[in-house]
Amino acid sequence: MEEVKTYIPSTLKEALEIKSKVDCIALAGGSDLMVAHKRTLGLTPKFDKSVMIIRNLKELRNIYINERGECCIGSCCTSAEIAESPLCPWHLRQAASRMGAVGLRNSATIGGNIANASPKGDTPGPLYLLDARVKLSSVDGEREVPVSDFIIKFRTIDLRSDELITEIIVPLSEDDFDYIFWHKVGTRKANAISKITLSQAIKFNKDDTVGDYRVSATATGAKTNRSRDVESILIGKKITPELIEDVIKAFDAVISPRAMPEFRREATRRMIRRFLTESSKHPKDKVIDTYDGYHVTGQPEPRRK
């Protein structure tokens, strides 16, 4: 067996060169890897492959808006940095601000959350909703893949062994919609793994028909669920109670929750019904709340133009 080594590159270029020669595990925040490889009290985690620590690579920690107006987030940006950045889209900031607790949010990175490809991961929901792409880099160049294709299935991603995720590009934001919704159902207010999380967004045409509607769900199947077919039921039509039930039924057929399926299905139905019913009344507030008016203080607000 090859000797297990640890690399600590100081530039992205160096990191990609190492990746091109050595089959090694990229370690960003370490919050999934260090737990997965932990042994017992006081012992060093055991990896069967070499490890490359990328947490502090400056090139992977920027957040900026590119010339096409898309939000670009370095793969090693932490949940806390994303939650705090007014450049990041609202749905994503919500999700980032409710991952784990303070300490975790200062370690957990967005690249790690996507690469981990857990159906309970919090960032893919908003990223699917907003058509986000990942940028994958190697010494040979770059390619971009929609996040929804990059995550193939449970714990399986479209990443070559010589590649790193370098950036997450989010083309849409709350500015592209009239009403937005994000709700995480956990077992407690803070520091909870998602039971289900629903992200929704809608835009109306001038004649009150629906121009765009999107819904994505986390922890309701083997991977994050979103379906263009379901969403298209509403496009070009005025919202009616019957149409809402059609959307609910169609989305119910898309999700496949395993544990507590009836609870997860019912909560999903209610959140869709709530969002569509309320937004069709055109309230003043852009954010549609849940019934309980449930609100955690300090949550990111949508941008005001």
Partner: protein, 160 residues
């Protein structure tokens, strides 16, 4: 495979030769004898091992020491020497926040981070700020009250 790592620890520069995959927690406790950093759950859930990394709270049980090369680490031993840290420790003592004490170093670090970014937290915000710190003794109420006390007493420190 040992590697030479250099970082700032409680304000001074330190170097060690060690396996970079060792947990920061173990290096702090064993190599630097900073035993205020506690090990509770070993998986990022309980907050007993909290330290500051570049001024931000992290759980040192899930951080390989190689990740702090060139960075700044502050433990409870460092925090309790600062003006704000001293004030929180006093407020915890006066407010009766401490029972067995195991969670307290992490709680003090959490309170320190909270008050630095939010000098006048609401009760909800305090509870959120310590939501990653588990205490099996106190039921949290006296810890929350003590953090309110530290906020009040330290108005000038936190707002500067």
């Amino acid at each position: 495979m040992d590697t030479k790592l250099t970082f700032k620890l409680n304000g001074r520069s330190v170097s060690i030769n060690t396996d970079p995959l060792r947990r920061l927690l173990d290096v702090l406790r064993e190599d630097f004898k900073l035993t205020g950093v506690k090990e509770g759950c070993s998986e990022g859930e309980c907050g007993a091992c909290s330290v500051l990394l570049n001024g931000r709270m992290v759980t040192s049980c899930i951080i390989p020491v190689g990740a702090v090369d060139g960075q700044e680490v502050m433990t409870i031993e460092g925090v309790s020497e600062t003006e704000g840290g001293k004030l929180i420790v006093e407020a915890f003592a006066d407010g009766g926040a401490v029972q067995c004490g195991f969670c307290i170093p992490g709680m003090v670090i959490a309170a320190y981070c909270l008050l630095k970014s939010n000098p006048e937290p609401t009760e909800d915000e305090i509870r959120l700020g310590i939501s990653g710190n588990i205490c099996r003794c106190t039921g949290y109420d006296l810890i929350v009250e003590s953090i309110k006390l530290a906020a009040k007493r330290g108005e000038k420190i936190w707002k500067k």
